[in-house]
Symmetry: C2
Amino acid sequence: MTTMTSPPATASAAPAASSAASSGSSAASLPAAGTQPPEAVEARVRILDNAARLILDKGFAATSMRDIASAVGIKAGSLYHHFASKEEIFTAILERGIDVMVTAFESVENDDRAGAFDGATSAEALLRAHVRAHLGSLFEFGPYTAAHVTTFHNAPDSVHEIIVPRRDSYEAMWAALFDRLQAQGSLRVDHLSIARLVLFGGMNSTIEWFDPAGPLSLDDLADTIVSQFWHAGGHA
Amino acid sequence: MTTMTSPPATASAAPAASSAASSGSSAASLPAAGTQPPEAVEARVRILDNAARLILDKGFAATSMRDIASAVGIKAGSLYHHFASKEEIFTAILERGIDVMVTAFESVENDDRAGAFDGATSAEALLRAHVRAHLGSLFEFGPYTAAHVTTFHNAPDSVHEIIVPRRDSYEAMWAALFDRLQAQGSLRVDHLSIARLVLFGGMNSTIEWFDPAGPLSLDDLADTIVSQFWHAGGHA
DNA sequence: GTCTATACCTAGATAGAC
DNA sequence: GTCTATCTAGGTATAGAC
Protein backbone atom coordinates (compact mmCIF):
# COMPACT_ATOMS: atom_id res chain seq x y z
CA MET A 1 0.00 0.00 0.00
CA THR A 2 2.69 2.50 0.93
CA THR A 3 4.13 3.34 -2.43
CA MET A 4 6.59 5.93 -1.08
CA THR A 5 7.98 6.88 2.26
CA SER A 6 6.86 10.45 2.73
CA PRO A 7 9.90 12.72 2.79
CA PRO A 8 10.14 16.19 4.31
CA ALA A 9 8.18 18.87 2.49
CA THR A 10 11.10 21.22 2.02
CA ALA A 11 13.98 20.28 -0.18
CA SER A 12 16.36 21.48 2.47
CA ALA A 13 16.55 18.09 4.10
CA ALA A 14 15.27 15.96 1.25
CA PRO A 15 18.18 13.85 0.03
CA ALA A 16 19.21 12.96 3.51
CA ALA A 17 21.04 9.86 2.40
CA SER A 18 23.24 11.11 -0.37
CA SER A 19 23.92 14.84 -0.38
CA ALA A 20 24.75 17.12 2.58
CA ALA A 21 28.01 18.45 1.13
CA SER A 22 28.16 18.02 -2.62
CA SER A 23 29.48 21.40 -3.60
CA GLY A 24 32.83 21.30 -5.28
CA SER A 25 34.96 18.25 -5.85
CA SER A 26 35.35 17.46 -2.17
CA ALA A 27 34.58 14.14 -0.51
CA ALA A 28 32.49 12.04 -2.84
CA SER A 29 31.91 9.48 -0.14
CA LEU A 30 28.92 10.47 1.93
CA PRO A 31 29.90 12.49 4.99
CA ALA A 32 28.07 11.93 8.24
CA ALA A 33 25.44 14.48 9.16
CA GLY A 34 27.66 16.16 11.76
CA THR A 35 30.77 16.51 9.64
CA GLN A 36 29.99 20.13 8.81
CA PRO A 37 29.11 22.74 11.43
CA PRO A 38 25.29 22.76 11.32
CA GLU A 39 25.08 26.53 10.95
CA ALA A 40 27.24 26.52 7.82
CA VAL A 41 25.11 23.81 6.26
CA GLU A 42 21.95 25.77 6.84
CA ALA A 43 23.37 28.91 5.26
CA ARG A 44 24.35 26.94 2.19
CA VAL A 45 20.90 25.45 1.93
CA ARG A 46 19.19 28.81 2.33
CA ILE A 47 21.27 30.16 -0.52
CA LEU A 48 20.63 27.14 -2.70
CA ASP A 49 16.88 27.19 -2.05
CA ASN A 50 16.60 30.80 -3.13
CA ALA A 51 18.99 30.46 -6.03
CA ALA A 52 17.19 27.39 -7.36
CA ARG A 53 13.88 29.20 -7.30
CA LEU A 54 15.31 32.18 -9.20
CA ILE A 55 17.11 29.97 -11.70
CA LEU A 56 13.94 28.00 -12.30
CA ASP A 57 12.07 31.22 -13.00
CA LYS A 58 14.60 33.21 -15.03
CA GLY A 59 17.35 30.82 -16.04
CA PHE A 60 20.96 30.66 -14.91
CA ALA A 61 22.51 33.44 -16.98
CA ALA A 62 19.67 35.86 -16.24
CA THR A 63 19.99 35.33 -12.49
CA SER A 64 22.65 37.54 -10.93
CA MET A 65 24.54 37.03 -7.72
CA ARG A 66 22.88 40.23 -6.51
CA ASP A 67 19.48 38.69 -7.22
CA ILE A 68 20.35 35.62 -5.19
CA ALA A 69 21.83 37.61 -2.32
CA SER A 70 18.82 39.90 -2.22
CA ALA A 71 16.46 36.91 -2.06
CA VAL A 72 18.45 35.44 0.81
CA GLY A 73 18.63 38.78 2.60
CA ILE A 74 22.37 39.35 2.43
CA LYS A 75 24.78 41.24 0.16
CA ALA A 76 26.35 39.78 -2.95
CA GLY A 77 29.87 39.70 -1.55
CA SER A 78 28.75 37.50 1.34
CA LEU A 79 27.81 34.71 -1.04
CA TYR A 80 31.49 34.10 -1.71
CA HIS A 81 32.00 33.00 1.86
CA HIS A 82 29.83 29.94 1.05
CA PHE A 83 30.49 29.33 -2.64
CA ALA A 84 33.54 30.01 -4.74
CA SER A 85 31.62 31.12 -7.80
CA LYS A 86 28.23 31.42 -9.43
CA GLU A 87 28.90 28.25 -11.38
CA GLU A 88 29.51 26.35 -8.18
CA ILE A 89 26.07 27.38 -6.94
CA PHE A 90 24.56 26.27 -10.20
CA THR A 91 26.36 22.94 -10.13
CA ALA A 92 25.25 22.29 -6.56
CA ILE A 93 21.64 22.97 -7.56
CA LEU A 94 21.75 20.64 -10.55
CA GLU A 95 23.38 17.93 -8.45
CA ARG A 96 20.77 18.23 -5.78
CA GLY A 97 18.08 18.06 -8.43
CA ILE A 98 19.47 14.66 -9.38
CA ASP A 99 19.84 13.56 -5.78
CA VAL A 100 16.15 14.24 -5.21
CA MET A 101 15.21 12.07 -8.19
CA VAL A 102 17.58 9.28 -7.23
CA THR A 103 16.32 9.24 -3.65
CA ALA A 104 12.73 9.05 -4.86
CA PHE A 105 13.57 6.24 -7.26
CA GLU A 106 15.39 4.26 -4.61
CA SER A 107 12.51 4.69 -2.22
CA VAL A 108 10.22 2.94 -4.70
CA GLU A 109 12.82 0.23 -5.26
CA ASN A 110 12.87 -0.41 -1.53
CA ASP A 111 9.10 -0.70 -1.45
CA ASP A 112 9.36 -3.08 -4.36
CA ARG A 113 11.89 -5.27 -2.60
CA ALA A 114 9.61 -5.23 0.43
CA GLY A 115 6.92 -6.81 -1.74
CA ALA A 116 4.69 -3.78 -2.18
CA PHE A 117 4.02 -4.53 -5.84
CA ASP A 118 3.17 -8.22 -5.83
CA GLY A 119 -0.02 -9.38 -7.44
CA ALA A 120 -1.67 -9.42 -10.81
CA THR A 121 -1.07 -5.82 -11.85
CA SER A 122 2.31 -5.54 -10.21
CA ALA A 123 4.25 -4.31 -13.24
CA GLU A 124 1.89 -1.47 -14.00
CA ALA A 125 1.69 -0.58 -10.32
CA LEU A 126 5.46 -0.52 -10.08
CA LEU A 127 5.74 1.78 -13.07
CA ARG A 128 3.03 3.99 -11.63
CA ALA A 129 4.92 4.28 -8.37
CA HIS A 130 8.07 5.30 -10.21
CA VAL A 131 6.22 7.86 -12.30
CA ARG A 132 4.58 9.20 -9.17
CA ALA A 133 7.98 9.44 -7.49
CA HIS A 134 9.47 11.31 -10.42
CA LEU A 135 6.55 13.72 -10.48
CA GLY A 136 7.04 14.17 -6.76
CA SER A 137 10.64 15.18 -7.41
CA LEU A 138 9.40 17.84 -9.81
CA PHE A 139 6.67 19.28 -7.60
CA GLU A 140 7.12 18.33 -3.96
CA PHE A 141 10.77 18.76 -3.00
CA GLY A 142 11.61 22.33 -3.82
CA PRO A 143 12.71 23.82 -7.10
CA TYR A 144 15.85 21.70 -7.54
CA THR A 145 14.66 19.02 -9.91
CA ALA A 146 12.45 21.40 -11.83
CA ALA A 147 15.35 23.81 -12.19
CA HIS A 148 17.51 20.95 -13.35
CA VAL A 149 15.05 19.92 -16.04
CA THR A 150 14.50 23.41 -17.42
CA THR A 151 18.02 24.79 -17.27
CA PHE A 152 20.33 21.86 -17.91
CA HIS A 153 20.16 22.16 -21.68
CA ASN A 154 21.70 25.62 -21.69
CA ALA A 155 24.20 25.13 -18.90
CA PRO A 156 27.83 26.05 -19.69
CA ASP A 157 30.13 23.25 -20.81
CA SER A 158 32.10 23.25 -17.59
CA VAL A 159 28.89 22.52 -15.71
CA HIS A 160 27.82 19.84 -18.17
CA GLU A 161 31.03 17.92 -17.62
CA ILE A 162 30.31 17.58 -13.93
CA ILE A 163 26.60 16.89 -14.18
CA VAL A 164 26.31 14.54 -17.16
CA PRO A 165 27.75 11.46 -15.41
CA ARG A 166 25.28 11.82 -12.55
CA ARG A 167 22.41 12.31 -14.96
CA ASP A 168 23.47 9.22 -16.81
CA SER A 169 23.40 7.12 -13.69
CA TYR A 170 19.82 8.20 -12.97
CA GLU A 171 18.88 7.39 -16.53
CA ALA A 172 20.52 3.99 -16.12
CA MET A 173 18.14 3.22 -13.26
CA TRP A 174 15.17 3.81 -15.53
CA ALA A 175 16.78 1.87 -18.34
CA ALA A 176 17.26 -1.09 -16.01
CA LEU A 177 13.65 -0.85 -14.90
CA PHE A 178 12.44 -0.87 -18.49
CA ASP A 179 14.73 -3.74 -19.38
CA ARG A 180 13.32 -5.74 -16.52
CA LEU A 181 9.69 -5.06 -17.45
CA GLN A 182 10.38 -5.95 -21.05
CA ALA A 183 12.32 -9.09 -20.11
CA GLN A 184 9.52 -10.41 -17.94
CA GLY A 185 6.99 -9.73 -20.69
CA SER A 186 4.99 -7.10 -18.83
CA LEU A 187 6.10 -4.54 -21.35
CA ARG A 188 6.31 -5.20 -25.08
CA VAL A 189 7.47 -2.31 -27.17
CA ASP A 190 9.58 -2.18 -30.29
CA HIS A 191 12.04 0.52 -29.28
CA LEU A 192 12.52 0.31 -25.56
CA SER A 193 14.80 3.29 -25.05
CA ILE A 194 12.68 5.53 -27.22
CA ALA A 195 9.58 4.55 -25.29
CA ARG A 196 11.43 5.41 -22.10
CA LEU A 197 12.75 8.74 -23.35
CA VAL A 198 9.37 9.81 -24.68
CA LEU A 199 7.73 8.92 -21.40
CA PHE A 200 10.43 10.89 -19.65
CA GLY A 201 9.88 13.90 -21.85
CA GLY A 202 6.16 13.68 -21.18
CA MET A 203 6.70 13.56 -17.44
CA ASN A 204 9.16 16.43 -17.41
CA SER A 205 6.91 18.59 -19.53
CA THR A 206 4.37 18.62 -16.70
CA ILE A 207 6.28 21.42 -14.98
CA GLU A 208 5.23 23.64 -17.87
CA TRP A 209 1.50 23.08 -17.56
CA PHE A 210 0.47 21.05 -14.52
CA ASP A 211 -0.84 22.85 -11.45
CA PRO A 212 -0.53 20.66 -8.34
CA ALA A 213 -2.96 23.00 -6.57
CA GLY A 214 -5.59 22.31 -9.22
CA PRO A 215 -8.36 19.68 -9.27
CA LEU A 216 -6.05 16.85 -10.31
CA SER A 217 -3.67 15.44 -7.71
CA LEU A 218 -0.20 14.17 -8.49
CA ASP A 219 -1.53 10.66 -7.89
CA ASP A 220 -4.19 11.29 -10.52
CA LEU A 221 -1.62 12.66 -12.91
CA ALA A 222 0.62 9.64 -12.45
CA ASP A 223 -2.39 7.36 -12.99
CA THR A 224 -3.32 9.15 -16.17
CA ILE A 225 0.18 9.14 -17.61
CA VAL A 226 0.80 5.49 -16.85
CA SER A 227 -2.63 4.37 -18.03
CA GLN A 228 -2.00 6.15 -21.29
CA PHE A 229 1.42 4.59 -21.59
CA TRP A 230 0.25 1.15 -20.59
CA HIS A 231 -3.16 0.79 -22.23
CA ALA A 232 -3.19 3.63 -24.79
CA GLY A 233 -6.38 4.92 -26.35
CA GLY A 234 -6.34 4.26 -30.05
CA HIS A 235 -9.24 2.47 -31.76
CA ALA A 236 -9.19 1.98 -35.55
CA MET B 1 0.70 8.89 -49.95
CA THR B 2 2.15 12.39 -49.77
CA THR B 3 1.83 13.16 -46.12
CA MET B 4 3.59 16.51 -46.37
CA THR B 5 4.56 18.88 -49.11
CA SER B 6 8.32 19.04 -48.88
CA PRO B 7 9.36 22.57 -47.91
CA PRO B 8 12.75 24.20 -48.47
CA ALA B 9 15.58 22.76 -46.42
CA THR B 10 16.67 26.05 -44.92
CA ALA B 11 14.43 27.91 -42.55
CA SER B 12 15.21 31.09 -44.39
CA ALA B 13 12.29 30.66 -46.74
CA ALA B 14 10.32 28.14 -44.76
CA PRO B 15 7.12 29.82 -43.61
CA ALA B 16 6.51 31.32 -47.01
CA ALA B 17 2.83 31.77 -46.37
CA SER B 18 2.74 33.53 -43.07
CA SER B 19 5.92 35.33 -42.03
CA ALA B 20 8.27 37.46 -44.16
CA ALA B 21 8.08 40.52 -41.92
CA SER B 22 7.02 39.62 -38.42
CA SER B 23 9.53 41.62 -36.44
CA GLY B 24 7.96 44.25 -34.26
CA SER B 25 4.31 45.12 -34.10
CA SER B 26 4.05 46.12 -37.74
CA ALA B 27 1.54 44.81 -40.26
CA ALA B 28 -0.04 41.68 -38.89
CA SER B 29 -1.78 41.05 -42.17
CA LEU B 30 0.50 39.10 -44.48
CA PRO B 31 2.54 41.39 -46.71
CA ALA B 32 3.25 40.37 -50.28
CA ALA B 33 6.69 38.93 -50.96
CA GLY B 34 7.89 42.12 -52.63
CA THR B 35 6.78 44.57 -49.97
CA GLN B 36 10.24 44.74 -48.44
CA PRO B 37 13.41 45.36 -50.44
CA PRO B 38 14.77 41.83 -50.98
CA GLU B 39 18.26 42.71 -49.74
CA ALA B 40 16.93 43.93 -46.41
CA VAL B 41 14.91 40.77 -45.93
CA GLU B 42 17.92 38.60 -46.54
CA ALA B 43 20.06 40.46 -44.02
CA ARG B 44 17.37 40.04 -41.39
CA VAL B 45 17.15 36.34 -42.10
CA ARG B 46 20.91 35.88 -41.95
CA ILE B 47 20.93 37.52 -38.55
CA LEU B 48 18.00 35.48 -37.29
CA ASP B 49 19.45 32.20 -38.56
CA ASN B 50 22.70 32.76 -36.68
CA ALA B 51 21.05 34.17 -33.59
CA ALA B 52 18.62 31.25 -33.39
CA ARG B 53 21.44 28.76 -33.56
CA LEU B 54 23.36 30.54 -30.79
CA ILE B 55 20.27 30.92 -28.63
CA LEU B 56 19.45 27.24 -29.06
CA ASP B 57 22.96 26.33 -27.93
CA LYS B 58 23.55 28.77 -25.08
CA GLY B 59 20.22 30.34 -24.23
CA PHE B 60 19.01 33.88 -24.72
CA ALA B 61 20.66 35.62 -21.80
CA ALA B 62 24.02 33.95 -22.41
CA THR B 63 24.07 34.99 -26.06
CA SER B 64 25.43 38.51 -26.55
CA MET B 65 24.83 40.87 -29.42
CA ARG B 66 28.56 40.64 -30.08
CA ASP B 67 28.25 36.85 -30.35
CA ILE B 68 25.47 37.20 -32.89
CA ALA B 69 27.26 39.87 -34.88
CA SER B 70 30.44 37.82 -34.95
CA ALA B 71 28.56 34.76 -36.25
CA VAL B 72 26.99 36.85 -38.98
CA GLY B 73 30.32 38.46 -39.85
CA ILE B 74 29.50 42.04 -38.91
CA LYS B 75 30.00 44.28 -35.88
CA ALA B 76 27.57 44.55 -33.00
CA GLY B 77 26.50 48.10 -33.75
CA SER B 78 25.37 47.09 -37.23
CA LEU B 79 22.72 44.80 -35.81
CA TYR B 80 20.75 47.83 -34.67
CA HIS B 81 20.18 48.84 -38.25
CA HIS B 82 17.98 45.72 -38.59
CA PHE B 83 16.56 45.24 -35.12
CA ALA B 84 15.76 47.75 -32.41
CA SER B 85 16.93 45.57 -29.56
CA LYS B 86 18.10 42.14 -28.53
CA GLU B 87 14.62 41.32 -27.32
CA GLU B 88 13.22 42.08 -30.74
CA ILE B 89 15.58 39.53 -32.27
CA PHE B 90 14.52 37.00 -29.67
CA THR B 91 10.85 37.69 -30.24
CA ALA B 92 11.24 37.33 -34.00
CA ILE B 93 12.95 33.96 -33.50
CA LEU B 94 10.25 32.65 -31.20
CA GLU B 95 7.55 33.85 -33.59
CA ARG B 96 9.21 32.18 -36.53
CA GLY B 97 9.50 29.01 -34.50
CA ILE B 98 5.74 29.03 -34.16
CA ASP B 99 5.23 29.91 -37.83
CA VAL B 100 7.22 26.86 -38.82
CA MET B 101 5.03 24.63 -36.67
CA VAL B 102 1.81 26.21 -37.87
CA THR B 103 2.82 25.90 -41.51
CA ALA B 104 3.68 22.24 -41.01
CA PHE B 105 0.38 21.60 -39.27
CA GLU B 106 -1.62 23.33 -41.98
CA SER B 107 0.19 21.36 -44.65
CA VAL B 108 -1.05 18.14 -43.08
CA GLU B 109 -4.55 19.60 -42.78
CA ASN B 110 -4.51 20.35 -46.48
CA ASP B 111 -3.46 16.81 -47.28
CA ASP B 112 -6.26 15.62 -45.04
CA ARG B 113 -8.86 17.75 -46.80
CA ALA B 114 -7.50 16.40 -50.10
CA GLY B 115 -8.41 12.92 -48.87
CA ALA B 116 -4.92 11.66 -48.10
CA PHE B 117 -6.03 9.93 -44.91
CA ASP B 118 -9.12 8.05 -45.97
CA GLY B 119 -9.42 4.37 -45.26
CA ALA B 120 -9.47 2.04 -42.31
CA THR B 121 -6.48 3.38 -40.37
CA SER B 122 -7.13 6.99 -41.28
CA ALA B 123 -7.18 8.39 -37.76
CA GLU B 124 -3.87 6.89 -36.73
CA ALA B 125 -2.33 7.87 -40.07
CA LEU B 126 -3.54 11.42 -39.63
CA LEU B 127 -2.04 11.64 -36.17
CA ARG B 128 1.17 10.13 -37.46
CA ALA B 129 1.37 12.76 -40.19
CA HIS B 130 0.90 15.52 -37.63
CA VAL B 131 3.53 14.08 -35.32
CA ARG B 132 5.89 13.73 -38.28
CA ALA B 133 5.22 17.34 -39.23
CA HIS B 134 5.92 18.58 -35.72
CA LEU B 135 9.15 16.58 -35.56
CA GLY B 136 10.05 18.07 -38.92
CA SER B 137 9.62 21.54 -37.44
CA LEU B 138 12.07 20.61 -34.72
CA PHE B 139 14.74 19.05 -36.94
CA GLU B 140 14.33 20.09 -40.57
CA PHE B 141 13.65 23.81 -40.74
CA GLY B 142 16.50 25.45 -38.95
CA PRO B 143 16.92 26.13 -35.25
CA TYR B 144 13.80 28.26 -34.82
CA THR B 145 11.33 25.79 -33.42
CA ALA B 146 13.97 23.99 -31.39
CA ALA B 147 15.12 27.32 -29.96
CA HIS B 148 11.52 28.15 -29.18
CA VAL B 149 10.96 24.92 -27.29
CA THR B 150 14.13 25.13 -25.22
CA THR B 151 14.20 28.84 -24.40
CA PHE B 152 10.59 29.93 -24.11
CA HIS B 153 10.28 28.94 -20.47
CA ASN B 154 12.93 31.40 -19.37
CA ALA B 155 12.07 34.23 -21.72
CA PRO B 156 11.55 37.65 -20.11
CA ASP B 157 7.96 38.67 -19.32
CA SER B 158 7.84 41.27 -22.07
CA VAL B 159 8.61 38.54 -24.60
CA HIS B 160 6.09 36.16 -23.07
CA GLU B 161 3.30 38.66 -23.52
CA ILE B 162 3.89 38.80 -27.25
CA ILE B 163 4.49 35.10 -27.82
CA VAL B 164 1.92 33.42 -25.60
CA PRO B 165 -1.13 34.25 -27.77
CA ARG B 166 0.55 32.77 -30.83
CA ARG B 167 1.59 29.68 -28.92
CA ASP B 168 -1.96 29.29 -27.72
CA SER B 169 -3.31 29.35 -31.23
CA TYR B 170 -0.98 26.54 -32.26
CA GLU B 171 -2.00 24.58 -29.22
CA ALA B 172 -5.63 25.17 -30.17
CA MET B 173 -5.03 23.45 -33.49
CA TRP B 174 -3.85 20.33 -31.70
CA ALA B 175 -6.68 20.56 -29.21
CA ALA B 176 -9.18 20.67 -32.08
CA LEU B 177 -7.50 17.68 -33.70
CA PHE B 178 -7.73 15.68 -30.49
CA ASP B 179 -11.34 16.74 -29.95
CA ARG B 180 -12.18 15.53 -33.41
CA LEU B 181 -10.47 12.17 -32.97
CA GLN B 182 -12.16 11.66 -29.64
CA ALA B 183 -15.57 12.74 -30.97
CA GLN B 184 -15.42 10.28 -33.84
CA GLY B 185 -14.41 7.50 -31.51
CA SER B 186 -10.96 6.89 -32.97
CA LEU B 187 -9.41 8.05 -29.75
CA ARG B 188 -10.77 7.14 -26.33
CA VAL B 189 -8.86 8.56 -23.42
CA ASP B 190 -10.01 9.80 -20.04
CA HIS B 191 -8.18 13.12 -19.91
CA LEU B 192 -7.91 14.39 -23.42
CA SER B 193 -5.85 17.52 -22.80
CA ILE B 194 -3.43 15.71 -20.55
CA ALA B 195 -2.93 13.02 -23.17
CA ARG B 196 -2.22 15.76 -25.68
CA LEU B 197 0.18 17.67 -23.44
CA VAL B 198 2.10 14.55 -22.48
CA LEU B 199 2.42 13.56 -26.12
CA PHE B 200 3.61 17.07 -26.85
CA GLY B 201 6.19 16.94 -24.10
CA GLY B 202 7.39 13.61 -25.44
CA MET B 203 7.74 14.98 -28.95
CA ASN B 204 9.54 18.12 -27.84
CA SER B 205 11.95 16.18 -25.68
CA THR B 206 13.35 14.54 -28.81
CA ILE B 207 15.56 17.55 -29.43
CA GLU B 208 17.47 16.55 -26.31
CA TRP B 209 18.29 13.02 -27.41
CA PHE B 210 17.31 12.19 -30.98
CA ASP B 211 19.96 12.28 -33.69
CA PRO B 212 18.37 12.66 -37.12
CA ALA B 213 21.67 11.55 -38.67
CA GLY B 214 21.49 8.27 -36.76
CA PRO B 215 20.02 4.93 -37.84
CA LEU B 216 16.42 5.95 -37.14
CA SER B 217 14.75 8.35 -39.57
CA LEU B 218 12.26 10.99 -38.53
CA ASP B 219 9.58 8.86 -40.19
CA ASP B 220 10.62 5.94 -37.99
CA LEU B 221 10.57 8.13 -34.93
CA ALA B 222 7.09 9.41 -35.72
CA ASP B 223 5.94 5.83 -36.28
CA THR B 224 7.36 4.73 -32.97
CA ILE B 225 5.89 7.59 -31.00
CA VAL B 226 2.43 7.26 -32.50
CA SER B 227 2.38 3.48 -32.26
CA GLN B 228 3.25 3.79 -28.60
CA PHE B 229 0.59 6.41 -28.09
CA TRP B 230 -2.03 4.54 -30.12
CA HIS B 231 -1.47 0.90 -29.23
CA ALA B 232 0.71 1.08 -26.11
CA GLY B 233 2.75 -1.83 -24.84
CA GLY B 234 1.46 -2.89 -21.47
CA HIS B 235 0.49 -6.52 -20.78
CA ALA B 236 -0.62 -7.47 -17.28
C1' DG C 1 29.73 35.63 8.60
C1' DT C 2 28.42 39.83 6.78
C1' DC C 3 29.47 44.28 5.51
C1' DT C 4 31.35 48.29 2.32
C1' DA C 5 34.04 49.52 -1.31
C1' DT C 6 35.85 48.72 -5.43
C1' DA C 7 38.44 46.53 -9.33
C1' DC C 8 37.65 44.85 -13.69
C1' DC C 9 35.02 43.49 -17.36
C1' DT C 10 31.34 42.77 -20.53
C1' DA C 11 26.74 43.82 -21.62
C1' DG C 12 23.18 46.51 -24.60
C1' DA C 13 22.68 50.48 -26.96
C1' DT C 14 23.77 55.12 -29.39
C1' DA C 15 26.20 58.68 -32.46
C1' DG C 16 28.22 59.98 -36.31
C1' DA C 17 31.83 59.08 -39.98
C1' DC C 18 32.14 56.65 -44.27
C1' DG D 1 24.51 49.27 -44.37
C1' DT D 2 28.55 48.88 -41.82
C1' DC D 3 32.06 50.81 -39.30
C1' DT D 4 34.57 52.87 -34.93
C1' DA D 5 34.13 54.88 -30.74
C1' DT D 6 31.90 55.46 -26.72
C1' DC D 7 28.32 55.85 -22.96
C1' DT D 8 26.21 53.78 -19.08
C1' DA D 9 24.64 50.07 -16.45
C1' DG D 10 25.24 45.95 -14.48
C1' DG D 11 27.87 41.68 -14.08
C1' DT D 12 31.35 38.56 -11.20
C1' DA D 13 34.60 38.56 -8.00
C1' DT D 14 38.03 40.35 -4.39
C1' DA D 15 39.95 42.89 -0.20
C1' DG D 16 39.75 44.19 4.14
C1' DA D 17 37.05 46.33 8.09
C1' DC D 18 33.89 44.88 11.64
